[in-house]
């Protein structure tokens, strides 16, 4: 399983020749190729083994009027490239004159080095045996765990390129691997329960398989003894994963594209305004070592960087593409995709207290949901974020897995949803608990929030 390989100089030569033939003088492109293998198992047998060789290219063309058109293709042959250029030029007739992307002024700036070791891929049959053994171990952790219905072990080798007609040339090669184990447990006369764990690494040999089994088993078993919860308002403690999911669902708060489009709760004037409690910090840092698979540059070739979004509760910066940055009079931040209308998105959040050692900037100290008399609702994981979040309104209503902590005891909650408004949540933070945890989506400690509405079935 080796990535088929993209040769940047050769691709540039081919595109330049074709562009010249079509009278195109300004263009840029993003290209990628990847080779993936993955396995799934079912009670000791192979369920599915998959491999894929993919290639993709998106080219943008500026026409004589300065308008931009785009075309994407999986056909990287000369014929495919020519058709893509031709299609992009035709689409440029429909470019938006009020919002025309340009080359990023940072597309040739130095990149921050990333420590991303490249791993040799393992044979797929070797992956299969590894996953079968992981499944066997997880099934053996508790008699109630009858299946691991969702599981997978995958590895990927990939390369991506950004080129433009002004000479920018970015290239990055990566290898990554992932393991997920979601167990299902059921006891007689009780409802089935399910929970799981995920691990990422730069190669299959680097995966923390034992940790993944331990976490999946612990989380599944911990929800076996459940009880319904009475509907009401509770102090809630979000796990790092759950809080990162929630913040991610409302990332349009910090997205300059969404601000300009009028679909963000923030406006241009929000910069410098308080959004959260004064002890709340939020950064986006795609370069964090915990961000497996980090990109060193965005879809426009801008270097990835660490960016303060909220400091001491105040909005400091927005995420930008080249076009949104130009509109705001700032530099691009390295968060762009590639498109006729360029999308903007976060990389990897860091959540934490504003000031270590300063009580004013750390929230309530000594929080520990394990010893708190309660009642507390600990939200372990949120579900259905795509359906239960109204980002442009700020509201959410989300099912969750979690526990009710009362009188020093912890009982799994049968089924419940938590609802609220993100702005209220950020203002109702009580504090942070414990050290920040490095997760696949970001870095965050446990987060305590006062007075959220929980709907249960009691």
């Amino acid at each position: 399983m080796n990535a088929p390989g993209l040769e940047a100089a050769q691709l540039r030569d081919r595109v330049e020749q074709l562009a010249h033939r079509h009278g195109i003088s300004q263009w840029d492109l993003g290209a990628s190729c990847s080779s993936d293998t993955s396995v799934q198992v079912d009670r000791g047998d192979a369920k599915q083994m998959k491999a894929a060789q993919r290639s993709a290219l998106t080219v943008r063309v500026w026409n004589g009027d300065g308008l931009v058109g785009i075309t994407s293709t999986s056909d990287l042959s000369d014929e495919g490239l020519e058709r893509a250029l031709s299609g992009a030029r035709e689409a440029s007739a429909f470019g938006n004159p009020d919002d025309t992307p340009a080359f990023s002024p940072l597309a040739t700036s130095p990149l921050q080095p990333l420590d991303q070791p490249l791993h040799q891929p393992r044979n797929i049959l070797n992956l299969l045996e590894t996953l079968k053994e992981a499944e066997r171990q997880l099934l053996g952790r508790h008699t109630a765990i009858s299946t691991v219905p969702y599981n997978g072990l995958a590895q990927r080798s990939s390369e991506r390129i950004y080129l433009n007609s002004a000479g920018a040339c970015r290239q990055q090669a990566q290898t990554t691997a992932s393991l997920y184990l979601y167990a299902r447990a059921e006891e007689t006369g009780r409802k089935p329960r399910s929970a799981g764990a995920v691990r990422l690494a730069y190669g299959a040999t680097g995966l923390d398989i034992a940790g993944c089994i331990d976490e999946a088993a612990e989380r599944t078993i911990s929800h076996l003894d459940y009880a319904p919860i009475t509907t009401g308002h509770y102090t809630c403690v979000f796990s790092p994963e759950a809080f990162l999911d929630l913040i991610g669902a409302f990332s349009s708060l910090f997205n300059a594209r969404a601000v300009l489009d009028g679909v963000s709760l923030s406006t241009r004037e929000s910069l410098g305004e308080p959004l959260a409690c004064p002890f709340f910090n939020l950064h986006d840092n795609g370069l964090h070592p915990g961000n497996i698979g980090a990109s060193s540059f965005d879809g426009e070739g801008t270097p990835t960087q660490r960016l303060a979004l909220v400091e001491a509760g105040v909005i400091r910066n927005f995420l930008h593409s080249e076009a949104t940055a130009r509109s705001f009079g700032v530099a691009p931040t390295g968060h762009a995709g590639m498109g006729a209308k360029v999308s903007v998105g976060p990389d990897y959040f860091e959540v934490g207290p504003a000031g270590a050692g300063d009580p004013q900037l750390a929230g309530q100290a000594g929080l520990d949901h394990g010893t708190h008399p309660g009642p507390l609702v600990v939200i372990d994981s949120l579900s259905a974020l795509h359906a239960g979040v109204k980002a442009s309104q700020g509201s959410f209503s989300l099912p969750f897995d979690g526990w009710l902590v009362r009188g020093g005891e912890r009982v799994s909650i049968e089924a419940a949803t938590v609802a609220g408004d993100i702005r209220t949540v950020l203002k109702a933070l009580i504090g942070f608990e414990g050290p920040a945890k490095v997760t696949p989506d970001g870095v965050c400690p446990f987060v305590w929030v006062e007075g959220l509405s929980v709907t249960g079935e009691a």
Binding site: M49, I70, T71, P149, A340, S392, T417, T455
Partner: protein
């Protein structure tokens, strides 16, 4: 700003990309697979041509064409299978993919072994003569842009406090050729077009956002036939109502779900549990319940792929089989599961023409097509009149079902029912439950069945589907709110 006559797609695609010369190549590939010891080899070839447009306020802000090609090769050996996808359709590329799939099953390419492959049957061509020119008959970019801008202009005309007006159009053209070592040899062309209108209204602290999506299959003139006036009035009426709605109070209560997209609740909560992929995983509570009652006797549910123009319709599934009309539940009794080739092999449930995939990068799996609850005898008004205090869900948002069968759905547009009448609008509601518990509580079905287009994401990717139902009443359901 609008160029006068740019075609919808640059290249001439009126003729098939998968012509007669492919028979020989596929014969050789399938033969090699069988000689090497595979029980069955399947090749799925695909060419695609996609166009999407976005209109915001009164401008076209994004035009995104895309095209592609690829192959997915699946090899079966006993109950196991290996699947490889590639964008390289050269002889070498396809053979390398096949050899990789064989290797996953411990098989070694053996070109000189005895050939157990009898050859491909006559090509079953699902209408190339008619469908070959569909792409060229679709609206040009200029036409599509004009229609979208007409839609956003009507929103401006009819809406109040609209901060954002958006119209989106997507056209997906796909040519597929399926060949398998059981002789299957079939070709089809599919055309899906969808159109959406979305708005965000804001007045002081009050905000509301909602949208409508319309979708058709195999109708090149669908965008031309669309009525932007009616759509804009519908959207503006709803967002105007919801802008000042209060949050719903959480609790257990009866609910009446409107027709059309209300059917998403059955799709997510029950339909997925009737796919053989769920039987294989052991994640459906209905696995051993064929012939048993799983729902209220008033409920009959059907999945089919033949309704003309419906978003989930198809002339053949992605394994080359014509879609059947599958009665899933009849008067509350479970009748059948939706099954694909692997599902039949692993669970024993016969194939139903439901093997579907997003594209060549996915192996086919049992998936829904047009899924709906059948009409009942009641009027919609009778359902509402039967509720003393409950929730009327006029429009549903998205939803999902978890690995233990628990579902949740956002209610995009809701009203309280008080003393048998609709009263004030409410927002923020989520319907929560488990299919096994809720199905017996669907006690009344109205006589106004309608379908609605949607997208379904699952194990074999995102596919075009239709959901549908008449108005239905659920006697009791958990409503999440504030």
């Amino acid at each position: 700003m609008i160029a006068p006559s740019i075609p919808a797609s640059a290249p001439p695609l009126q003729s098939s990309g998968f012509g007669a010369h492919w028979r020989e190549r596929l014969d050789a590939l399938l033969s090699l697979g069988r000689r090497s010891g595979a029980d069955l080899v399947e090749v799925f070839l695909e060419r695609t041509d996609h166009l999407s447009l976005l209109a915001e306020q009164d401008s076209i802000t994004s035009v995104s064409p895309a095209f592609g090609l690829g192959a997915g090769i699946r090899v079966f050996l006993g109950r196991r299978d290996g699947f490889v996808s590639t964008n390289d359709l050269s002889d070498q590329g396809l053979q390398a993919a096949l050899e990789q799939a064989l290797g996953m099953l411990g098989l070694v390419p053996s070109p000189s072994a005895a050939n157990a492959f009898a050859g491909l049957t006559e090509l079953r061509d699902h209408g190339l003569a008619v469908k070959g020119e569909w792409l060229l008959r679709c609206p040009t970019l200029a036409e599509a842009s004009d229609r979208l801008l007409e839609g956003t202009a009507r929103l401006e005309q009819h809406g109040r406090h609209l901060q954002v007006r958006r119209g989106s159009y997507s056209r997906d053209w796909q040519e597929v050729l399926v060949a398998a070592s059981d002789g299957t040899f079939a070709r089809d062309i599919r055309l899906h077009q969808s159109l959406g209108l979305n708005v965000l209204a804001a007045d002081g602290e009050h905000r509301a956002s909602l949208g409508r999506r319309y979708g058709t299959s195999d109708r090149p003139d669908a965008l031309r036939d669309w009525d932007p006036e009616a759509s804009a009035l519908d959207v503006c009426d709803s967002v105007g109502t919801m802008l000042y709605a209060d949050y719903v109070e959480a609790g257990q209560m009866p609910a009446v779900l409107a027709n059309r997209f209300g059917g998403v609740i059955f799709h997510e909560a029950c339909g997925h549990l009737l796919e053989t992929t769920q039987v294989e995983r052991g994640t459906t509570p209905f696995a051993e319940m064929v012939g048993q009652s799983i729902a209220h006797p008033s409920l009959t549910a059907i999945d089919e792929g033949g309704t003309e123009g419906a978003f989930g319709s198809l002339a053949m599934d992605d394994e080359g089989m014509e879609p059947q009309r599958t009665v899933l539940i009849e008067n509350g009794v479970l009748r059948r599961f939706l099954s694909d080739r692997a599902g039949e092999q692993r669970t024993g449930h016969p194939r139903t023409g439901s093997g579907r995939r997003q594209g060549h990068g996915f192996a086919a799996a049992s998936r829904m097509r047009n899924t709906f609850i059948a009409a009942g005898p009641h009027s919609p008004e009778a359902l509402i009149a039967s509720v003393d205090r409950g929730l009327y869900c006029k429009s549903m948002g998205g939803g999902s079902v978890g690995p233990t069968g628990q579902f949740n759905f956002a209610v995009e547009e809701g009203f309280l029912i008080e003393n048998g009448k609709l009263t004030k609008p409410v927002k923020g509601a989520t319907l929560i439950g488990e299919a096994k518990e809720v199905m017996p509580r669907i006690s009344m079905c109205a006589n106004d069945l309608e379908l609605a287009a949607g997208f379904c994401g699952s194990v074999s990717g995102s596919i075009f589907v239709t959901v549908g139902q008449p108005h239905i009443k659920v006697d009791s359901i958990t409503v999440g709110g504030r």
